[in-house]
């Protein structure tokens, strides 16, 4: 027991240490960055007198109208570059456009600055461009194919929607996002291309799957070797969590069938937990995999199938023909029950997404406060004060987020278990 406590304390302390480290670094980088920006702006302001840039290039940040929302969305969204600290690592792009076919290349081909965090490409490849780390495509068919050097990418707010434009040869070409199946609910929709890339989230998923495989393989081997002995090392941490889920989630909710569904519940719990915690590690890409609707959608769809394929006669009877209920009530009850079948996985999907994304956004907004108060480095005194307050708030939020990472993984698992339990329950009336 003492060992478990010590391991937990160690993990917590290590995470806090990492967080603290990130903040000191973060400020440094951003401050540095801001200076760069400032100098650039000066250069451009001079050049603009002589030659036109077609409206592209760096713009001076106006502290009065600066909106932290795009910065926050840039940080929580998936990307085609993996940024570790101030450096960007290229990732493979697998893109499909119906009018062009399949294109596969590394995102380094976009010629982004490897030592800049944003990852904005200087080249267009077959009309694809890299805009703030995300692959987008130029809508206009008159734009030449192949590798083209572009003058820059600019963003403009039109009717409350930010639209990106590529500047090339004095003209501006509108760019669009990849196709999503949300039908416009979250600002997406069908566009001219599909993105199947090994993106930042996919890489972090692979890493976590490999890590969990290694962890559980080695723990399983230790169990074989040290049969009947007290747990040691990694076993102490894994066994505590594993037994907790088994005793608190699987057994009470699933009755005597708990052994059949325990592997699924464990896979869900540890996968979500690992991705939640990996997303918490600052400076390591800051991947927001469990805060991505596509990933939570897949998890929820798997849960949907597991629940409904294992549903017994009583489960379906309670949906379509509730026993011992008068017919008029049935007319109301049946549609509600049918809706409930779909609402259950839908809320699973949205709950995980909303909780993780909200936590990440709050942290970014707290960091943004420094830049808002200091007016982007123009007012260093207030900036230092704001930084002190912001670091405190962010550390507090990070600690809460560690808690949320565990709670949301637990809630997803316990709700899945209760849905499976309700679907497989034998009648006792």
């Amino acid at each position: 027991m003492r060992k478990i406590l010590i391991s937990c304390l160690f993990v917590f302390g290590f995470a806090l240490f990492l967080n603290a480290q990130d903040h000191s670094h973060d400020h440094h980088n951003h401050d540095h960055h801001n200076h760069d920006h400032h100098d650039h702006n000066h250069d451009h302001a001079h050049k603009d007198d002589h030659s036109s840039h077609g409206g592209c290039g760096h713009h001076e940040v106006d502290p009065a109208t600066w909106d932290p929302a795009p910065t926050a969305f840039h940080h929580i969204s998936d990307a085609n570059v993996f940024s570790i600290g101030p450096f960007s690592i290229p990732l493979p792009c697998i893109l499909y456009a119906p009018d062009h076919g399949l294109s596969m290349f590394m995102s380094s081909k976009f010629d982004f600055d490897w030592n800049a965090h944003e990852g904005t490409g200087h080249k267009a490849i077959d009309r694809y461009v890299l805009d703030l780390g995300v692959v987008r495509r130029i809508k206009d068919n008159s734009f030449p194919m192949g590798e083209i050097k572009i003058d820059g990418i600019t963003h403009k707010k039109e009717n409350d929607v930010t639209v990106g434009y590529v500047c090339y040869g004095g003209n501006k070409y509108q760019i669009e996002d990849q196709s999503t199946i949300d039908g416009g609910v979250f600002g997406g929709g069908m566009t001219s291309f599909y993105d199947f890339s090994i993106s930042k989230n996919v890489i972090s998923m692979f890493l976590m799957v490999l890590f969990l495989f290694w962890l559980f393989r080695s723990v399983a081997n230790t169990y074989k070797k040290r049969r009947g002995m007290a747990p040691t090392g990694k076993q102490s941490l894994v066994e505590a969590i594993f037994v907790f889920i088994q005793d608190e989630v699987a057994k009470p909710f699933l009755g005597h069938k708990w052994e059949k569904f325990t592997p699924f519940l464990m896979a869900l719990f540890f996968f979500i937990l690992a991705l939640n915690l990996f997303g918490q590690i600052p400076f390591l890409g800051g991947s927001n995999a469990t805060g991505n609707l596509a990933l939570t959608l897949v998890l929820a769809v798997i849960t949907f199938f597991v629940v409904n394929l294992n549903g017994n006669k009583h489960y379906w009877q309670h949906i379509f023909n509730f026993p011992d209920v008068p017919a008029p009530v049935k007319a109301i009850l049946t549609p509600i029950e049918i809706l409930g079948v779909f609402i259950k996985p839908l809320t699973l999907m949205l709950r995980l997404f909303a909780n993780i994304t909200a936590g990440h956004i709050v942290i970014i907004i707290f960091i943004s406060l420094i830049f808002m108060f200091s007016e982007f480095g123009r007012n260093m005194g207030i900036g230092v004060g704001a930084a002190a307050g912001s670091v405190f708030l962010t550390l507090f939020m990070m600690a809460i987020e560690l808690l949320v990472a565990f709670i949301q993984a637990f809630v997803f698992t316990i709700l899945t278990a209760s849905y499976i339990g309700a679907a497989t329950e034998e009648a006792h009336h």
Binding site: V185, F186, I343, T347, A354, V411
Partner: protein, 68 residues
């Protein structure tokens, strides 16, 4: 000042969920103090109910996005 009235709806939905989860937590604390030996059962059921209430709030938030 610009904004969407859906944001107000979102806030109202969150107030409702906050009251609901607050009640769940308060009653769970009472139950634990009354029967400390049942703390495990009470805790997991508390989280389950809180999750279900949160589901209603999340649906309201998404609908307020949709109605934007």
């Amino acid at each position: 000042m610009t904004g969407s009235i859906a944001a107000i709806g979102m806030g109202i939905a969150v107030i409702g969920a906050g009251i609901g989860i607050g009640n769940v937590g308060a009653k769970a604390m009472e139950a634990i103090s009354r029967q400390p030996e049942a703390v495990g059962d009470i805790r997991s059921n508390m989280i389950l109910i809180a999750g279900l209430i949160e589901g209603a709030a999340i649906i309201a938030i998404v609908l307020s996005f949709l109605a934007r």
